[in-house]
């Protein structure tokens, strides 16, 4: 049970075996993805036929198109990155405004509003996607019928993808930034005001530096969640596919090690983001 109580040896051994098996279960899929990105074979399958970098660098001279030469995949990485930047920007801005609203504001219906803010996390992503799609089309049709305007950004496409992802990622940014603002010592602000600082100066020199770890943290989480979102994105996507949708399409068609290569790139990128984020974390407390 716990270390202070007598512990039969078999139980200790069983725990160790279980932990090792559990970690193997967690890492096995990632390891095979990484390993078969370097296999010198047209399919990501055993046996091992030797090491190659063709699936990264191949320029279709050997009939192998590597990641670098695969303009469709590279384009979708850029698309995802662009979408994620917009979602991050919007989410962090709104999350900050919401944090002040929830922690500092006093207005009727605050309790109800703070519960409603959590709703996007319990609505399945697919349903968020279709509801935004339906509502956007309604507005687009209305504008077309009554005013004769063509509002193309309300048709399936990247602007709708940004809005769809933003609808629930904003909640996460709000929670992260509010949690930090709640622990802020307001006497610091009062001291600055007593010393004659203006509202803007207090915000810029005291509140903002204090919130910085939460702002950076929520930006990292927002970017990652946007980049990896599939459910909501699938419902709102137009002609340009973000990476997850593009990979899904290719995975249904068949297997090519170039998908392993792009996956390895993704793993490296999220590891990098996680490391910088975790290094910052201790300073946050």
């Amino acid at each position: 049970m716990i270390p202070t109580l007598p512990h039969p040896a078999w139980l200790r051994a069983a725990t160790a075996v279980y932990v090792v098996a559990f970690l193997a279960f967690l890492f096995l899929p990632l390891v095979v993805v990484a390993v078969f990105a370097f296999n010198d074979a047209p399919y990501p399958a055993p046996p091992w036929r030797g090491f190659t970098l063709d699936w990264f660098l191949g320029n279709s001279s050997k009939g192998r198109t590597g990641l670098i030469a695969d303009s469709e995949l590279m384009g979708s990485i850029l698309t995802s990155g662009g979408v994620a930047l917009w979602v991050t920007l919007l989410s962090v801005l709104l999350g900050t405004a919401n944090a002040f609203l929830l922690e500092r504001g006093r207005f009727p219906g605050k309790q109800a509003l703070s519960v409603l803010m959590l709703a996007p996390l319990v609505i399945p992503g697919v349903i968020l996607g279709i509801s935004i799609l339906a509502f956007a089309s309604r507005i687009a049709e209305f504008a077309d019928d009554t005013l004769g305007w063509e509002l193309d950004f309300l048709r399936p496409g990247l602007p709708l993808v940004v809005l769809g992802q933003f609808s629930f990622i904003a909640t996460i940014a709000t929670l992260t930034i509010s949690a930090r603002l709640r622990r802020f010592d307001r006497t610091l602000e009062e001291a600055a005001f007593n010393l004659g600082a203006s509202q803007a100066a207090v915000f810029r020199t005291i509140v903002l530096p204090y919130l910085r770890p939460a702002l950076l943290g929520s930006a990292a989480i927002s970017f990652l969640m946007s980049f990896e979102d599939f459910n909501t994105t699938l419902m709102l996507v137009g002609a340009d596919s973000p990476l997850t949708v593009m990979m899904y399409g290719r995975m249904r068609e068949g297997a090519s090690p170039v998908l392993n290569a792009v996956s390895l790139f993704l793993m490296a990128a999220s590891a990098l983001l996680a490391l910088t984020f975790m290094r910052r974390r201790p300073q946050a407390h």
Binding site: I2, Y18, P46, N98, P120, I127, A134, F135, L175, L243
Partner: protein, 276 residues
């Protein structure tokens, strides 16, 4: 400060769902001509295909949630109670890492492991367990494995935080009074961890029910997942009225489970969300 929040929730959450509700309660009677009707919901209850897929999705999600709880509990216990300091945080970070990687990538890993030409069938042939490679994809068990895999972290985090707050002295006292391991688990650990267990189960159930990627890729044509029906109606067949009704049914089931879960554990929604 109120304006951005209202704009966000109004334009992207509340009004879209009102629109979805309106869509689901109407029927196309001619070009550009619609009438209020319950036809979309009637189709769901009279066509056994949709009904079966719905029930199947719900039951598979319940199974995945319970199995995730069973598999995650010993690890949460190890992290919260058995290991200390560095070992404990190292173990936790190791459990966290796979979830920084996109679900698409993790599913690709399972496909490479399990497909007929994949790693596991090849290994079984080599070990002499099977004569020819076996296809592991496209079974219900495979879908469950994939769903459990994507859900583990969402179970682990609330479990760990609720187990960490359990005072070891309570367990020691029970032991000194002669309680066995099972009695301690049933009368002390589980009641104390109930909020964490509820939070984990609610989140995992919701995510599983709304999952699209894992069932369709690992289950192929046999996946029969309800989100797939919504996609088919909405995107492939362009039958938005039917798709909206399906969406609402899924949302209803998901919400019902959240409410029942909270009632069972006597907790408030906000507290649970902050826990995860």
């Amino acid at each position: 400060m109120l304006a951005p929040a209202i704009l966000w929730l109004g334009a992207l959450v509340v009004l879209p769902h009102v629109e979805l509700a309106v869509l689901s309660f109407r029927e196309r009677v001619g070009p550009h001509n619609y009438a209020a009707s319950l036809a979309q919901y009637k189709t769901f209850f009279t066509d056994p295909l949709y009904w079966n897929v719905f029930v199947r999705t719900a039951l598979m999600s319940v199974a995945a949630t319970l199995l995730t709880l069973l598999l995650a509990f010993p690890i949460a216990w190890t992290i919260a109670k058995l290991s200390t300091g560095r070992a404990s945080s190292l173990l936790f970070i190791l459990c966290l890492i796979p979830f920084w990687v996109s679900e698409t990538v993790r599913t690709l890993g399972w496909m490479i492991l399990l497909r007929e030409s994949g790693v596991l069938p090849a290994l079984l042939v080599k070990l002499g367990v099977t004569a020819v490679p076996v296809e592991f994809l496209y079974h219900d068990a495979t879908i469950l494995v994939g769903l459990i895999y994507t859900s583990l972290l969402f179970m682990l985090i609330p479990l760990i935080s609720s187990l960490e707050s359990l005072d070891n002295a309570l367990i020691e006292a029970a032991y000194d009074l002669g309680a066995g391991g099972f009695a301690i688990l049933r009368t002390i650990v589980i009641p104390h961890a109930a909020p964490g267990i509820t939070a984990g189960c609610i989140v995992v159930f919701m995510l599983t029910l709304g999952n699209y990627l894992t069932p369709t890729l690992l289950g192929g044509k046999n996946s029969q997942w309800f989100t797939e029906q919504i996609y088919t109606q909405f995107i492939t067949r362009f039958n938005w009225e039917q798709g909206a009704a399906f969406g609402f049914l899924l949302l209803g089931l998901s919400t019902a489970m959240v409410v029942i879960g909270l009632k069972l554990a006597g907790q408030r929604f906000g507290d649970v969300m902050r826990r995860t």
